[in-house]
Symmetry: C2
Subunit: 519 residues, 2 copies
Amino acid sequence: MQLTSIIKRAAQVNPRGLATVYKDRKQTWPQLVERVGRLAGALQKAGMKTGDRVAMLGMNSDRFIEYLFGVMWGGGVVMPMNLRWAPPESAYAIDNAGVKILIVDDAFEAMVPAIRERTGNIKTVIFAGDRETPMDMMNYEEILEAADPVPDAGRGNEDLAGIFYTGGTTGFPKGAMLPHRGIYSSSLSCVWGFDLTDRASYLHAAPMFHMADIAMMISTCLAAGTHIIIPMFNPEATLEAIEAHRPTHVLLVPVMIRMMLESPEFDKTDVSSLKRIIYGASSITESLLVKAMEKFAGCGFAQGFGQTELSPVCTILDAKHHVLEGPYAGKLRSAGQATNTCEIKIVDPAGNELPAGKVGEILVKGPITMLGYWNNPDQTAATITDGWVHMGDGGYLDDDGFLFVVDRLKDMIVSGGENVYSAEVENAVTQHPDVAACAVIGIPSKKWGESVHAIVILNKGAKATEDDIKKFCHTLIAGYKCPWTVEFRTEPFPLSAANKVLKTELRKPFWEGRTRRVN
Amino acid sequence: MQLTSIIKRAAQVNPRGLATVYKDRKQTWPQLVERVGRLAGALQKAGMKTGDRVAMLGMNSDRFIEYLFGVMWGGGVVMPMNLRWAPPESAYAIDNAGVKILIVDDAFEAMVPAIRERTGNIKTVIFAGDRETPMDMMNYEEILEAADPVPDAGRGNEDLAGIFYTGGTTGFPKGAMLPHRGIYSSSLSCVWGFDLTDRASYLHAAPMFHMADIAMMISTCLAAGTHIIIPMFNPEATLEAIEAHRPTHVLLVPVMIRMMLESPEFDKTDVSSLKRIIYGASSITESLLVKAMEKFAGCGFAQGFGQTELSPVCTILDAKHHVLEGPYAGKLRSAGQATNTCEIKIVDPAGNELPAGKVGEILVKGPITMLGYWNNPDQTAATITDGWVHMGDGGYLDDDGFLFVVDRLKDMIVSGGENVYSAEVENAVTQHPDVAACAVIGIPSKKWGESVHAIVILNKGAKATEDDIKKFCHTLIAGYKCPWTVEFRTEPFPLSAANKVLKTELRKPFWEGRTRRVN
């Protein structure tokens, strides 16, 4: 399983088809393969040796795709960097992974001096933007022009394809090492599970540095389809690209779907090309999903769930399970079922497998799993046991094998000896018609250890009170799960780069000077 | 990539679904997994150690599926035996692979003494039939009952999954060693390429010992679908099973399709459940395909092409390419395009890659390739170079990346210094309305080295003469490719177990006492 094989095959089976569409640039599959071979040659000239890590810090672009395949073609290892990182975090990752070559674009070249101040590791910076090349940087197009295409280095299978830093929001980021077979296998199950038929076209609106978008990128290559690329998500640019380029597939996170639906442009836009909207990275409320299904009429919805360590998809809730009635009703709240490239089980803290209906930790095994964390044997040993990756998420399987994720274990609230899963409480609160968004956390309580605290953003003009929210919840869930206190805010929640609500940030003011138990 | 994972996942995601339907026996996915674990335990009790080969000689049945997974679950290696072999051939394979445990059914138990006469290797024979258990054999159900399910041995990836003997018609059979990742990868591309949606149901009419059917078996497991099983193909039994069990998919070889269409039962049978007829193992004439497409209205056709050494599929001609008009017209005659788990190239005898349109040998690389031939380093080295498997077939890629197989290299006719591909000549001859079937071979010619000889079976009552056939061909193909001589016969062509016409047999009378050049 060699990721570079996929683009060679795509060029053979779809030689006249467009591989990438970005701004006013378009290229066919054979053109992409030619540029990838050339970039590999240029990187080797710049000193890249087999197994060397090459980082990229940039917005979405056609060159980002060339970077991913070019590095692997030349024998290197990719390391796409999180766009939200501050220079110290970027410098940490560069030092940690021993990166000597960094590629940046217009949006990030200005950050390079601040990164270099903190690490002496970087020898070469390649500028892949469209503006003038900064001093001390090599120009991407010039080095491509000066290089000849080189033969594919032929790395594959267990060879390291990339290091993907994850978990930066809870301490120093860990570099998940994904082998070629991991990303290849995960993407094969996505092609099938998300119904990427031959020649599908995929809109890259999600950030390309993230494994969720990279898996869709590889899936699109497996379908010999077309990559439609916008630099980054914003609701209007995304809608415009959908109408202009008519993609069949797009990956969005729930907050993006909400923003698009709320955009004044939505009703003027032709979104009829979309066959599948894939969502993930965070759970979606039923109310939002129902609205989205109504507004994107004729388009199927499918959820992917996983984590970077799983390359990243382990379950899919496919389109036919997105229904409100019939035998599949209620599955909407699940993350779907194991893909056909993994096995899933739920275990108790002692590692015993639990039967259907019982909550425990979610474990995943199969070709999609990472090799471990870069230079971090302790975390690796804590995460992978007997080939099973411990997700750190709590959940259960129902009688039909659907996975219900109840919480990150660390977000679970322990109140009066009872486990309260914040996701369940959030699902109740957001069903209130006045609520736009909600995050539930555990806050210190002398009596209960922790008490359930809801932070709520109301719809514009809505007037629900703390008491209204609490009473409403009591009609839906058990009393001990209902919010004890409700706080209203108007500013958006702090989000991670993957658009997950940063509960650590929300908890901070309450836990100042105290230590919260960690599961 | 662990093949046993696939059935565990199927039992999780489709716990109430039927896994197998055979005669009056049915079992759900969890029941199948339970019996597989039990069979693994029984085989271990019978002496099977990690990596041991266990052979099966039997018709299609639910127990054949249990055998395949049970052996692997228990740590062993499967070795399904060719049903057409005579006892000396079976004994050869058993000796060659060092098989100690053999499983047989009602149809083959009588052959065991003749096999044992020729090899002292077999220690245990298990009788998986439904009649009374012969002396000296263990009963399949009894040993299952007496055993407890054991834990999955966890073999996968590069571990040997099975030895599949191939090429027995041209000398001693060679044992292609297929690893878990080979069969898994090939089947993943089949799931997608043959449109096996979630819960597809597949009719096993093709023999289960053959990799073509095994790949479909694994694909059906990947879709958590249902296996509908008949002991062996015959046109009426197949039609009956289609109407009774309503499968969505079936794999047939062209000769089977023809027999079904010619059956008096055809027009009385409801074949409307079929969504895809997959054909392969030999090429299909356009006239037969057109007729089949008309008769199986509403059903798509898809071709799989490959060989055992490729686990076995490397190209698929999918349903949308089965058209007579439009941009894909003419692709019908191809074997389709590379699947998304391999790369294909065409090379000249020196190993140089050839451009589109040029005929050479077909080479295939990717996760689908075999590990080599069992105990046969010479043949392995001759077949795999730099990871590329030499198919031994001649062919070319067109400008759209479609593979056209022109011939087995050994079937190519060299006449007057020109290469004549028998497939091309056969395609011309069979377009004659009087021709039911045709095989073209090279026969000795003092002047030309070889001359083109056509052996023709006419339709009932048809009266075309040798001269008619020759003249007809001259309207379609170049003169040097046209048959020099035409021979008529009424009996069917000799076929291999994979239903390929045995040209070695047809050539024999002409080459008695002479040596034919081998490409």
